[in-house]
């Protein structure tokens, strides 16, 4: 299909007043020989859009360039169907709203953006989606507890077939061990029945849900839309093809054996929350030592949690559980004295009502550090530092002490049978700096056939890593969504919500995968990385750096991409030293052409040029918002959006410097433990790559500070002028790039 470019310049929104639009048209028609170039005063109006539609229909224009507002607005107005490649030149937010009107430098900026976009078209093709074979829309749920059962019923209710895998004999998980549960519905004041039988029946009666109990997963091979999961049940094994997986493997209580300092083990009357459920299930809460019904009960919160010696995190559910259990005691004997020794009561969400209920039943909450638990013939004495009284206190003649012993995710345990080294492979023989691989704990749950390791990468404490703020369910393995207490510590109400959310994500995934589209954050993107394999040196950078484990290895050690696992971040493209990875609409040469299209003034003109590579996820919106708020910033900058800083190929820095551009600023998301990178590792990897760039610059005889990376979140829009200004000032101090004019 031959390319026919149509350029449409809008002069509305103040663009026509601030810029010389006819000069701008000349860039398109004279420099880039665009066959069609039109100007309209109100391009997003019906008449404006009709001009373009007409050209598409009658003139065969198939590459449409709209020079006007940001691509983040009016995308619905400027939609000419999948066969038309659309590019937007942001003259409004990025030029007119941030620069002096009617100024030669403003005009130069606008013309450069026109050039950058038209240069981009050279290597740009409409992507052809990757459609897998025998794509399945079934959803597998791993774990049959409350979260798993919820995910299964929710996905089935939405019309999807579900395969539910449970390791125990029957479904229910923690519900089986509970006398009652914290309320899941208003008024959130009374413990509720578990309704285990009802929940199980709902699953058994649903023809769309297939249940495997006493089952484990031997291996999970393939990729979204085409996962082949081998399920073992005793000696038998079955393979199920599914499109996406919800991991709801839950958590287990923290080992009370480690809580000797709180009296566990020394007295039979010091028990865990799970043991109290057992007692309550039996019908009478009595002292284990002599069977006497309890008169005085104490709960010790944060037993093991929020404790640097044990679990440094808050287990999130134990406050609510203790509140519930304190009500069991009050139900059995309203006159019983119940103390809750706490650090903070974290009864989040609607459970404030539950907390109040326990208080109004007379449960006494004491903010204290417990300093000692001792047993005198079954009567227990607790000594504590009452933090509100500011004095030591004690409670004696306690019949039963319940430790709120917190939770540890099922993914945090290593199976000794697998050898126990909780490590992914270390970056092998490479001269490039590489990040430490994410810890992957061989917990024997999914047994992924991924080159990068058999389970989900974790960030901390064994919980699967996910973009906590924006994409909580999405793990670092596309198509696998964590829900419930395996994802992070949470109570049952949250687990139900989580499970529902994850089911929805799994549904989105199977639907997108079947259409060859990317899931979040580039949802709907049809492009995917293609490898020019004959030039591959098998360095393995791409397989190691892909944050999502999308690239396996074939028998000949060549990279083996799995397009449906891919999130289209381009990190592999940035990593590849041979530059053989590209997308139909995003590639190393393409960005190279774009930056080369920038006109660099002669040294004596004293007009520096600073190139900004800005991440599309946060930095670009922040730059747009700076424009919307009319925040003026430096006229020397030129911005090129990138999918993720992870896609930054160092050759671009090289090219920019050789071209005489004076400085390069990289704007990406925050990285580290509390990262905000939408591709999780992209900005971190860019930082690591950049550490190599100083060598290159030294070789060119340039100050290494001419290239700088900064973190910008969408909220930082007001800081944009300063960030940009400070960098430009620094570059101006260095003086012009001596490569200018070469």
């Amino acid at each position: 299909m031959s390319k026919k470019i149509g350029v449409y310049i809008c002069s509305g929104c103040g663009i026509g007043d601030a810029l010389d639009v006819s000069a701008l048209s000349k860039v398109a028609t004279k420099e880039y020989k665009a066959p069609v170039c039109k100007t309209d005063a109100f391009l997003c109006g019906k008449d404006g859009v009709d001009i373009i539609k007409k050209d598409v229909a009658e003139e065969g224009v198939n590459y449409v360039v709209i020079a006007g507002c940001s691509g983040r607005v009016n995308y619905d107005v400027f939609d000419f169907g999948p066969s038309v490649v659309l590019e937007r030149v942001n003259l409004r937010e990025r030029v007119v709203w941030t620069q002096e009107p009617d100024d030669e430098d403003t005009q130069a900026m606008a013309e450069d953006y026109m050039r950058i976009t038209l240069a981009k078209l050279k290597n740009l093709e409409a992507p052809v989606p990757f459609i897998g074979e025998e794509v399945s829309k079934r959803i597998m749920v791993v774990g049959g507890g409350l979260a798993g059962m919820t995910s299964a019923t929710e996905a089935a209710a939405a019309g999807y077939e579900v395969v539910l895998v449970e390791k125990e004999e029957s479904l229910g998980g923690w519900l089986k061990k509970s006398y009652k549960i914290a309320p899941l519905s208003p008024p959130y004041t009374n413990p509720e029945e578990t309704d285990l039988a009802g929940r199980i029946k709902k699953i058994e009666d649903n023809p769309n849900i297939k249940v495997y109990t006493l089952a484990s997963i031997e291996q999970t091979a393939g990729s979204p839309g085409m996962f082949d999961v081998t399920i073992k049940q005793g000696d038998a094994a079955a393979t199920e093809r599914v499109g996406a997986i919800v991991l709801a493997a839950g958590a287990v209580p923290y080992d009370p054996g480690k809580l000797e300092h709180l009296g566990f083990g020394a007295s039979p009357n010091v028990i865990t929350q799970a043991q109290l459920e057992e007692l309550a299930q039996k019908g009478c809460i009595a002292r284990p030592s002599d069977g006497k019904a309890v008169q005085k009960v104490a709960f010790i919160q944060c037993a093991g949690s929020r404790d640097q010696e044990h679990l440094s995190y808050c287990s999130a559910a134990c406050c609510v559980e203790s509140i519930k259990q304190s009500l069991y005691v009050k139900e059995q004997n309203p006159e019983a004295a119940v103390y809750v020794f706490y650090k903070d009561i974290r009864s989040s969400g609607q459970y404030e009502h539950f907390y109040k209920k326990a208080q109004s039943e007379g449960v006494i909450f004491i903010k204290a550090d417990v300093t000692g638990v001792s047993d005198d013939g079954g009567n227990i004495t607790i000594e504590a530092d009452d933090l509100l009284m500011g004095s030591p206190t004690m409670a004696d003649e306690i019949d039963l002490v319940v430790l709120a012993n917190g939770m540890v995710p099922a993914t945090a345990f290593e199976d000794p049978a697998l050898g126990g080294e909780a490590q992914a492979e270390v970056a092998a023989g490479s001269d490039q700096a590489a990040p430490a691989p994410a810890p992957i704990i061989k917990s024997n749950i999914l047994n992924l056939q991924y080159r990068q390791g058999p389970e989900l990468p974790s960030l901390k404490y064994g919980f699967p890593d996910s973009h906590f703020i924006c994409f909580p369910y999405e793990t670092r393995r596309t198509g696998i969504y964590a829900a419930g207490s395996v994802r992070r510590p949470m109570d049952m109400a949250q687990a139900v919500e989580d499970a529902t959310g994850a089911a929805l994500k799994a549904i989105q995934c199977v639907e997108m995968s079947a259409r060859g589209m990317a899931v979040h954050p580039r949802s709907g993107d049809l492009s995917y990385p293609e490898f020019q394999m004959n030039r591959c040196t098998q360095c393995k950078r791409c397989t190691e750096e892909c944050p999502f484990g999308a690239i396996n290895e074939d028998e000949k050690s060549n990279p083996l991409p799995n397009p449906t696992r891919c999130r289209r971040c381009g990190t592999c493209m940035g990593a590849c030293p041979e530059r053989i990875i590209s997308f139909k609409n995003y590639s190393v040469p393409m960005v190279g052409n774009m930056l080369k299209a920038i006109e660099v003034p002669e040294e004596d003109e004293e007009k520096p040029r600073v190139l900004i590579f800005a991440c599309e996820n946060d930095a670009i919106p922040a730059l747009d918002m700076a424009g919307i708020n009319r925040l003026a910033y430096s006229k020397w900058i030129r911005i090129i959006p990138v999918r993720c800083l992870g896609s930054l190929n160092l050759i671009w820095v090289n090219d920019a410097m050789s071209k005489g551009i004076d400085g390069v600023l990289l704007m990406g998301c925050k990285h580290g433990d509390d990262y905000q990178c939408h591709f999780m590792k992209g900005s971190e990897l860019a930082g690591i790559r950049l550490s190599k760039v100083s060598e290159t610059l030294d070789r060119m005889g340039l100050e290494s500070d001419r290239v700088y990376m900064t973190e910008v979140s969408i909220m930082d829009y007001d800081k944009i002028p300063k960030i940009v200004g400070d960098f430009v000032d620094k570059i101006e101090k260095f003086g012009p790039n001596p490569m200018k004019g070469f």
């Binding site: 007379g362 004491i366 009284m389 004095s391 004690m394 409670a395």
Partner: protein, 200 residues
């Protein structure tokens, strides 16, 4: 404000005292105190208080009965209602303070001047059905005794003079209301009803 009694001997929790407070008219609400400190922050007279309302409730929870009633907290409350408006647990603190005052008076903790003032005020109501400021003052100083009276009168002398000068302090006591007897009967009946309810 004084610090809570910091002793090296561990204090033993005694839940019984709290029950005594919970049984008061607005006492039930106190159960819901979550020790957030909003009342302390809001109180108009907290600087004068031995313990902020929050700390007073803490003493109650621990069971320190004597410290509780000896504290001036309830007597410092001026019923400005700020805490009641702000308490996130909806505890009507000003009402609780009034409960505590009347409970303290009942228990004989009457040595504070405010207790005297309250009692004098009530006597004044029972006397005429309305409160005559001159009569109230006379009762108050009479009860506080001579030394306080002379001290008080000395301090207040100028004030009294100016008020007289501006006709703001009628010297002649007004007449009793006509229905004084029936008002007292109503009150007595109400008190009897309350005792009956408490007895339950």
């Amino acid at each position: 404000m004084t610090d809570l009694n910091v002793s090296s001997e561990p204090v033993k929790y005694n839940p019984d005292f709290a029950k005594e407070i919970y049984a008061l008219e607005s006492g039930e609400h106190v159960k819901l105190c979550m020790q957030c400190g909003m009342c302390a922050l809001s109180c108009a007279t907290r600087e004068e208080m031995d313990y902020s309302p929050r700390k007073l409730f803490l003493l109650m929870r621990v069971g320190k009965r004597e410290e509780f009633f000896k504290a001036n907290t309830m007597w410092m409350c001026s019923t400005c209602l700020m805490c009641k408006v702000r308490c996130p647990r909806g505890i009507p603190l000003a009402d609780v303070m009034h409960d505590l005052k009347s409970h303290a008076i009942k228990l004989g903790y009457t040595e504070r001047p405010q207790a005297t003032f309250y009692q004098s005020f009530w006597q004044e109501i029972l006397n005429k059905g309305r409160v005559f400021e001159g009569g109230l003052m006379a009762r108050y100083y009479l009860k506080r005794g001579w030394s306080e009276m002379t001290k008080g009168l000395f301090e207040m002398r100028d004030l009294g003079m100016t008020m007289l000068k501006h006709n703001r302090m009628p010297l002649k006591s007004p007449k009793s209301i006509k229905g004084l007897k029936s008002m007292k009967q109503i009150i007595e009946r109400a008190q009897a009803q309350m005792h009956r309810e408490e007895g339950r």
